[in-house]
Symmetry: C2
Subunit: 441 residues, 2 copies
């Protein structure tokens, strides 16, 4: 009987090992990214897991014909590693042998192996399975992985427990028009707009929890910053003294993630020319003060006292950066009527909540705040809003049987990435975006 022991036979070496084989002959696998013909030799770029390696083809040293090389074919290359001080890697790969593992049926209709993929956003997204093979395109999502790992490492260190909460939900969802509904074995169910209720419940269990998972919003907005499905980084923590504890935790998380990116994702940051923002001291400003400040500073009249216009978020960031140097700003004390029923109201002024948004380079990337933990207070607020508390019975179980003072936040991973990369559309940082017009690929 054959036994599987976990020993993977390796016929090729990893790109990062090549430098240890100067003067030797190695085998390496990858996809031929680009062939650049020069007068008497060719550069052959090989796309590997994370790198694009430069190989050199000369008819004299190769045991195969140049015609056998084809872009986007998958190959195993036998090459001699020749020291080359002028090369970024410190070596050149002189091609000797070629084993073709697979061939494309045809060439891509969109050129993917130049520095930039020169096409419309529509095309870029329609041809995602191919356009993502571009070096810079894929670097966006490698970097996004780094952000996630950075967050996770930090949260684990701070004793947050990672949870998996359901995305199909029923009664008790936050409601509103922005919710997708589905037929669940004859009953109506919904797609979760956030893990809000579940992460609160789990604070009663583990005190500190987090989840990185998809959320769904049936918003009909067709803008550069809205997605109908996105990855939400959610955390929730108990035993807070105020919503500022959550802002402190987020600030610490950002600092930690940026340090991690610096350490492990330099490659992608260079390629994408990322300038990491400072997160050592993030200013906070009350929502109402922010509204007035923007109006005064930029000669605008306030149309809506309860919400920001997108332009105001941009101007506020511009202003705060000028004043404090920070590309982040916490806006606090959002009006109660614009915040959900579980938001804790300020003791001094019930028209305001113990809540915040984090704006980053002109865009809101996080919403957070302290939640109501008292059963009586929660029920009262729901009744005041005309909500049917019976529908929230299982949600209210936690309040009824005891909850610590707590709060948390949700950060949109794609938005955050797109601001980090200074992109003008969140779709560029979304692997396979879902919007009002797009469900494919």
């Amino acid at each position: 009987m054959n036994l599987i022991t976990g020993e993977l036979e390796k016929k090729t070496i990893e790109p990062e090992e090549i430098k240890n084989h100067i003067g030797e002959i190695i085998k390496i696998h990858g996809s031929i990214y680009k062939i650049r013909k020069m007068s008497d030799f060719s550069f052959v770029l090989l796309r590997t897991k994370r790198d694009v390696l430069q190989c050199i083809f000369t008819p004299e040293t190769a045991e195969f014909k140049e015609e056998e090389l084809r872009e986007e074919s998958c190959v195993i290359v036998t090459a001699k590693v020749i020291e080359e001080k002028r090369s970024k890697t410190g070596y050149d790969l002189q091609m000797m042998g070629l084993q073709v593992l697979s061939l494309p049926k045809e060439g891509s209709p969109i050129v993917i192996n130049n520095k930039l993929v020169d096409t419309s956003m529509e095309n870029l997204l329609n041809y995602r399975p191919v356009t993502l093979r571009n070096e810079k395109q894929r670097a966006i999502f490698k970097l996004q992985e780094g952000i996630c790992i950075g967050f996770r490492k930090f949260l684990a260190k701070e004793n947050f427990t990672e949870i998996h909460t359901p995305k199909i939900v029923q009664a008790g969802a936050e409601g509103g028009a922005n919710i997708f509904s589905l037929d669940y074995f004859g009953k109506e169910a919904y797609l979760a707009q956030s893990p809000q209720f579940y992460k609160q419940m789990m604070v009663g269990v583990f005190e500190r929890v987090f989840e990185i998972a998809p959320v769904f919003r049936a918003e009909k907005h067709d803008t550069s910053r809205h997605l109908n499905e996105y990855t939400s980084v959610d955390f929730e923590m108990g035993y807070v003294e105020s919503f500022r504890d959550i802002m402190q935790m987020e600030t610490k998380m950002l600092q930690s993630a940026f340090a991690y990116l610096k350490e492990e994702y330099q490659k992608e940051m260079e390629l994408l020319k990322v300038k990491l923002p400072q997160a050592d001291a993030i200013p906070e400003i009350k929502f109402r003060d922010a509204k007035e400040k923007i109006a005064a500073e930029y000669g605008r009249t306030i149309k809506d006292y309860d919400d920001f216009e997108p332009e105001e978020e941009k101007l506020l960031c511009e202003y705060m950066q000028k004043e404090t140097g920070s590309e982040f700003v916490f806006v606090t004390h959002y009006p109660s009527k614009k915040r959900p029923f579980y938001a804790m109201e300020s003791r001094e002024d019930a028209s305001e909540t113990e809540s915040f948004d984090l704006l980053f380079r002109g865009l809101e990337v996080t919403t957070g705040g302290q939640r109501i933990h008292s059963y009586e207070e929660q029920v009262k607020k729901m009744e005041k809003r005309g909500m049917n508390t019976a529908l929230f019975e299982s949600y209210l179980l936690m309040h009824k049987y005891g909850m610590p003072p707590h709060g948390g936040l949700g950060l949109g991973l794609e938005r955050f990435t797109s601001r980090l990369l200074l992109q003008d559309n969140v779709r560029f940082s979304t692997l396979f975006p879902r919007d009002i017009n797009r469900v494919t690929p």
Copy 2:
């Protein structure tokens, strides 16, 4: 202007720090889990993030009255750390002061602070926000976190890139009756049954990718092993020589995750009396041979030559453990007609696929295999199945423009956890289960 610098003021210490404060007075926060009255003192158990700490209340040393102690209230305890060799922790916590942060409205209708929550599964699940506060109940999900982290650490080390793929999908889904549909702005869309297509596409980009995320199956089964939403651990890798490379990778992943649990989750494993299985050598057996072996060994007649009955999976595991000592078994070469259209058929016998399932203690926990990477081969197979290839245009882009030989697997996190814990229902390892009768809490 107030600046948030990421400094979290700590008024209490962490449980793991207590041992460094023998003889000192400390403050610690938590929820009062249980009060056990003895003749002239009381044990007061405090539930913290991961531990249940034993405090001692004596009227002589406490500055508060015993009546102020209430189960499931959230408190800050001031206590003297007294060395106590007979205690597991090496110390006792002598209660001095008490600050009550919150009180439950009433006591839980289900007793949650005994060793076991003595109630029906129905009740256990209906009262999840409360029953999960039980020490053993929550340990299940702490351990599940450990499994996830173990997998992730391993996959990162093996250079897999973590991705986030969409859960709302349209044309090109695997189809069948077991799919939830929803109205997506007037178009029909579906909930992804797996990240299959997307992870394959991403193999063309990063060579190795993984995702841990929810998947949705509209199966009408009401069994102890089916869920309609579960957490799938998916990986997919390029440049494989055969589907055995994937079995090797999974075996290595299991070994690595178990080693990680041993290191970091001893606490929960002791509490739950977990016996980690051996994964150093997992036997493989062909599907057809397995069917025949079970029939012969247990005197059964084969009713269905194309599929296992649940009883057969159990018997096969029993038999293989007897023969080899392994609690795992890879079953290979499943019939083509029972595998999806992207499964690679065996060169020797097209009625079989280059695929496998991993059975663990009587239950299938993983499905995997090699996929078709050639465009022509994939189109031919789809046409043979009468599928409309036009609906799969974006899926087929990757094949058309070049893909390496590749394969991967999906592992059900909740099933895996429940087999590890030898539970007789997968719902016990699901935080908030979704089944044909349950969408709450």
